[in-house]
């Protein structure tokens, strides 16, 4: 790929107390590609994802997004970036339990200042796209894990982000549901042109990626081209 990477992490170092979470970790993601970060529990892959998303601030090293240094940005600027250009999916969906599924999906748009009606219209379209229109009026506690995770994927894509970060998106699902969620997720992301950074320890999930990076002891050890 000849173009400049959209997202680059260079020599990231991060400690939690005495625990070294990242130790000179580097990785790059191009626009539209799907990168899987693999590795055992505690290897630092989620921490790397959080640094890439501007959620965590590394002790040393630099994260560059579209030429802008994330590590030099103020927290409010990074928050604004996450509202507008980045999307997030977590293992357990982490939907707001008191909002309906439709309202959950509309939430990022509303946080961006979109009018309520317009936000709900877009959210409804995304629920349909993720094949969960039927749960629009239900609360997260009233839907199955697979449905909830599809709602979470819809929420991460509703703002049409340039990068979506997914932390074990199928970790809490059975294989059948996990497969379907990944199919819909990756298809939707590719359709919108979003890059995806995927944390997983499942090979079948990593198989949806274009690239794979293995994180071990806070370092990105290898990087393979899957496709």
């Amino acid at each position: 790929m000849a173009t400049e990477p959209l997202l680059v992490a260079e020599n990231l170092h991060l400690r939690f107390g005495t625990t070294v979470a990242l130790d000179s970790a580097s990785v790059a993601v191009h626009a539209g590609e799907v990168l899987a970060l693999m590795g055992p529990s505690g290897s630092g892959k989620s921490t790397l994802l959080h640094c890439l998303a501007g959620i965590l601030h590394p002790d040393a090293g630099r994260v560059t997004y579209a030429g802008r240094d994330l590590t030099a940005m103020h927290d409010s600027e990074r928050s604004a970036l996450r509202r507008t250009e980045l999307g997030l999916v977590f293992q357990f969906g982490q939907l707001v339990p008191e909002l309906t599924c439709l309202e959950n999906v509309a939430l990022p748009l509303r946080l961006n200042g979109a009018p309520r009606r317009a936000a709900l219209r877009s959210a409804a379209a995304w629920l349909e796209r993720l094949e969960v229109s039927d749960v629009a009026g239900k609360r997260p506690g009233q839907v199955s894990g697979g449905q909830g995770q599809r709602v979470a994927v819809a929420r991460s894509l509703v703002t049409r982000p340039r990068v979506v970060f997914a932390d074990e998106p199928t970790g809490a699902l059975d294989s059948l549901n996990g497969e379907r969620v990944m199919q819909l997720f990756v298809a939707a992301a590719r359709e919108t042109g979003a890059a995806v950074v995927l944390v997983t320890h499942e090979a079948r999930v990593a198989a949806y990626s274009d690239h794979e990076a293995v994180v071990r002891d806070g370092r990105v050890r290898t990087m393979e081209h899957v496709r």
Binding site: S46, T47, A53, I55, S79, L88, V96, E103
Partner: protein, 763 residues
Amino acid sequence: MTRWAADLALGVRLSVGGGRSGWVRLGLIAAGVGLGVTMLLVAAALPAVLDARADRADARWVETQQTVDAGAPTVLTAPVRSVYHDAAVEGRLLQPESPDAPLPPGVDRQLAPGEIVLSPALDRLLASNDGAALRGRWGEEVVGLIAPEGLTGPGELTFYLGTDELTPDTADRLQTFGAPRGDAEAMSPVLVLLALVGMVVLLLPVGIFVSTAVRFGSEGRDRRLAALRLVGADAAMTRRVAAGETLAGAVLGLGLGALLFALVSRVAGSLVPGNLSFYPQDFRPVPWLVGLVVLLVPVTTVLVTLAALRQVVVEPLGVVRRSGERRRRLWWRLVVPAAGVVLLHPLVTGLDASAGTQVMIVAGLVLLLTGVALVLPWLVEATVHRLGPGGVAWDLAVRRLQLDSGTAVRAVSGIAVSVAGLVALQGIVGAIGALTAETTADTTTYQASVLDIDADADEVAAWTRELSAARGVTDVGTLTSLAAEPAGGGALGPDEVILESGPCAVLAQEAQVGACTDGDVFVVVPDGAAAPPAGSAYVLDGGGSAPWTLPASTRSADPAPGTVAVMDGGGPARILVTPGALAGVRPEVMAVTAYVALDPAVPDALDLMRTAAAQVDPRAYAASIEARGIATALGGIRQVLLVGTVALLVLIGASMLVNVVEQLRERRRLLAVLVAFGTRRRTLSASVLLQVAVPVALGLLLAVATGSVLALGLQVAVEAPLSFDWAGVGTTAGVAALVVLLTTAAGLPLLWRLTRPEGLRSE
């Protein structure tokens, strides 16, 4: 039994075994329970404080008309009432009639004329800059301090002053000090009612706070119970384990409460007004009440926990809450306050001080105020389901309340009950205040008066001279009550009159005389009294000279606002005479009231005048005209009420803070996720505040409505004019709302800390 003990022990073990977060949860429960226990222990100490104060007051009580054994050593004594800067200073004149005359408790020597012993508080006041205008009021010859056994409390302002001017006619002769005060000091039904309302208002919320505290962290506990179900625990076992968890918090709370009480007891005496102060050793909780607290608090907390568990089904694979879809019903929630209203009927039908009535009123108040806590959840639920969409913060808050308003309502219900009670209390205190202090007396000419002047015609001039010489006094006018007998003999009958003489300016203090010149005579006839006809003749000097005749030019006048005749209604007719109308008659003076004009530019002019009056005769009572009639007991009750209200607000604030902290901790991961999405912290903060503000607003609305109705009932009970103190109610509700919102806001830094990205980490 062993099984039970093992399950309870497992609960205790789980409560302390959850690592840092487990300890924090336990700490929060202990803090909530501890604050409640502190309030309960303070209440349990009050009977001991009252008893100790009463014992010391009994020991120095002067029984008038005491039977004196022949030849027994005696002392003549008379009370002295005075005021300094609105604080009552009550002392006693002592005139020993033999060297071994009885001494009041706390005094170790006989006092020679002019010698004075002071309470330590009065001694300190006199020595301080604040006491400048008090110095010299009763002489300077301080020969000692009154020991604690002679004082009701360390803050009491009192003294004993030696004199040689008492006679058996003007004083009490005592063989011994001390007697049970009995009915003489029994509280009136009105004050009993006040005390009952105050007790219920201040203690009922404590129960609600304690029951709220034990439900902290219940979501985490339910998940632990589900895990236990997964490994084979049955429903009964999980309930016992939950009871064990709660017990650990309750026992820790009891310990914390005892510790806080120990701290409070060091300062409690200084928080009440001086005339209600007490010694630290008085502040000991009554043992059987302590036993009750130690027993009831853990039992209540366990019962609350078990009742809360009825709302959830703990299954091996998770927890199902039953409250989600089931709407709350109103009818049974109304039964409790309705029963309270029924029990409160003596308020309207007639109040007495019997034990039965007291029990009914306390039970009625408890039920009515508990009704606020019962109706509020329904009100909040019914309201939030009707609230429309708004901004993101509003939606997050309202949706949260729609899904589960129980947690927020539990935190607010204590506040609502407190405010309802305080509004009621404020209503009754205000009404009684209005009843006793209905003084709209004209203060444009004279601002103070000296009552109970025992003087003859010559001494009146001396009084006028001495008072006029005091710094800050610009004018003195006297009103003399004259001895009057109907000419022709016979006692004054049903148509008896009071004759009083003074210049026009003084008469204007007593009646609406209008245009007045020397020589005028006015007659003031209260409702129901007969007016003496013109030409009625009176002997004013005890006989001898020609009788004085009520002239035909006598005008009738209405009583001046704020005078005794107005306050009491009825009473005999009063004839007010200017000196010119008595020309040629030298009347016999029965009593004198001096009206004093004060220079507002002179600081402490009133107290300087009081000091001048006391130097002439310590028994004369000098007071501000404005303050005349205000019951001092009510002033004390107001201050105690203020202390209680502040304590309650502190409890509300602390409880609210603990509650907010607990709720934020329970939702920390979700909050961290929302921030990870880019949600602004101010949006989250606004959402948290709105989640509190909506139930608080509804709670205060309900509280003000209930409290106002209750206040009206109480006003009917004490036969006070029905009034509604909007400013007072607004202040109470506003301060409560402010305390809640400020303490909630104080929890926001934790929100910001919890929403740091580390909150997302699970490893």
